[in-house]
Amino acid sequence: MHPATCWLRRPATAVTDMARIDLDLAHAYMANPKSDDDYALLPLAMSFSDGGAYALLGPSGCGKTTLLNIVSGLVKPSRGSVRFDGVDVTARTPQQRNIAQVFQFPVIYDTMTVAENLAFPLRNRGVAADRIARRVGQIAEMLELSGQLNTRAAGLAADAKQKISLGRGLVREDVSAVLFDEPLTVIDPHLKWQLRRKLKQIHQELKLTLIYVTHDQVEALTFAEQVVVMTRGRAVQTGSASELFDRPQHTFVGHFIGSPGMNFLPARSAGASLDVAGHRLSLAARGLADLGIVTLGVRPEYVTLAAAGAEGALPAVVTQAQDIGTYWLLTTQVGAGAGAGGVVRARLGTRQAIPRAGETVWLRLVGAHTCFYKDDVLVAEAAS
């Protein structure tokens, strides 16, 4: 078990209310975890800086909601600590940490009106009535709920209810951070897009620290400045959208981000040459010399067609050619056996001649954007 360390860089802002959040912890829901599988979160250390917009991205069950609940204080980590501005808050409740959180399904107080719902977090903290009214007005304006302020919240549609939940998360000005747990799951696609933009806008206006959990890469990459990709209780990479796309630090990131995900092929590096599926590519890859057996990873966007027998290209049989509208998706089989070759997908522009299924094409796999992995971890990039 090796801790994943990632320090998220962002210049500290002068806002005093918010806090830099440092995590150094592990969590298991069971009492005596033995193997890695028993952990919901493997040991990790990461920081969220003031006023940043972050996303935790990963498939269901990868531990992202657990991580979020640990930050908010709903779950106490079984090991390690949570620090806000250097102060250990591990034992504190969400209320003491002054965290706002929005959940996957709308939570509204049935008997209250929309305005009362929005005012609830402020009222509980004894904020003066005129300040509450002003703040509720602002938030309602932002979320386009102004017209419904005096309606009973229980009768509204799911998306309006979720807007109320979002509003309750944003209504306090002095929160340490606002956490979102897949908040747009219940929202219609067109409203989803609108609300996501709204959140981004709110982030720019209020300069709150936002942490957003999602399994949707588009949502994560458009919302956040920094995305933490998680799988099976491990944070495998943190970075901007382009970093995650161009330099996946882990095969999971390559596979999970992008559609379709990165192509992976077994390869062997020896000296200045690289053997892929029985073909020797003489293209020198810096730093590969002593690695032996590696996994070659290349995104479908960076696979190009080459002339038959071209230098640095290898043959593949087209199994499927799909017209996706703005591009063609070519599915090919490289090499014969399962151990020696694999499926390679390529995104081709609509202008060029598209090979048909059954044809043999020559593909150029190694280029500036090709990555090499050993034990799923990035070891080298092709010479650029």
Partner: protein, 293 residues
């Protein structure tokens, strides 16, 4: 045009027969009795609404009706809040939860007349734990001698017997509230009372409605327990409607007035349930046009 298929009637025939024998025929028998004076099995005279008029003027019956309303009201006022409090205090998880559930449900398994007998002994000042304890504390208590004590004992007995039902219903209702509500409330900084007032109570509305209706109907028809405990006494302090009715119908064999009163009794329950149900539907959902949540 749709074709009319008369054979559909055949399909509902079993239901019609069942309902006829279980509800309509017995009810019509009562209606039949209520408009006749049965002098002997062979001789009967049609008397119209006379029984209804005389029953309505009966002082004993009016007394029993008032006592009954007061009793049912007291039952609801005590059992509903107590049941909610009990449900809130019960553990949610683990073996404690199962153990407490079984303990709470025990009184519900005891037959009515046994409950009466238990309390008859329990309340005795010589050998009963409850009565003796009160006597030891210097409280002058006798459910056979004092009308107030008898009334309170019957109420206490009903609370002991039936509060667990309310508690179990509320417990089920509480367990159905998703965790996210409590988490959100904790994030929103809600106090324990606010959680109860704005999450738990509104979410319990459905089960509370069932609990109130069940406890109201049941307490309004209470018969066995006071009959065993006090026999309706002392005097007629604990003579509730159904006991009064039984005295009339079985004791004095006044089938006509008893039947007339049965019908009135039935209508009273129907009316009060209707009022209660509608009131509870409205409470907590003030703007009806916004739909229901």
């Amino acid at each position: 045009m749709k074709t009319v298929n008369q054979r559909a009637w055949l399909l509902i025939l079993p239901v019609v027969i069942c309902v006829a024998f279980s509800a309509i025929l017995p009810l019509m028998t009562v209606v039949n009795y209520s408009v006749q004076d049965i002098i002997s099995p062979e001789r009967r005279v049609f008397v119209g609404t006379e029984w209804f008029k005389s029953v309505m003027r009966d002082d004993d019956l009016q007394g029993a009706l008032l006592r009954q309303i007061a009793f049912s009201f007291a039952v609801l006022v005590v059992e509903i809040p107590l049941g909610i409090a009990l449900a809130l205090a019960m553990p949610a998880k683990g073996w404690h939860a199962s153990a407490v559930l079984v303990l709470v449900a025990i009184s519900l398994l005891i037959p009515w007349n046994v409950v009466g007998t238990i309390w008859q002994i329990y309340g005795r000042t010589d050998i009963g734990l409850f009565g003796a304890a009160l006597a030891w504390l210097g409280i002058d208590y006798s459910y056979t001698g004092s009308a107030r004590d008898a009334w309170l004992t019957v109420l206490l007995m009903d609370v002991w017997h039936w509060t667990p039902l309310v508690a179990l219903l509320c417990y089920a209702g509480l367990r159905a509230i998703p965790d996210a509500y409590y988490q959100a409330a904790s994030i929103d900084g809600a106090s324990k009372f606010a959680v109860f007032r704005f999450i738990q109570l509104p979410k319990l509305r459905g089960v509370l409605m069932i609990a109130v209706l069940l406890r109201f109907m049941d307490s309004f028809m209470i018969y066995t327990e006071p009959f065993v405990l006090t026999g309706g006494g002392p005097g007629n302090a604990t003579t509730f409607l159904s006991q009064y009715l039984t005295q009339k119908a079985v004791g004095q064999f006044d089938l006509g007035p008893a039947a007339a009163f049965s019908l009135i009794y039935f209508l009273i329950i129907l009316l009060l349930c209707f009022i209660l149900y509608n009131w509870m539907q409205r409470v907590g959902t003030a703007d009806k046009e916004a739909g229901h949540g």
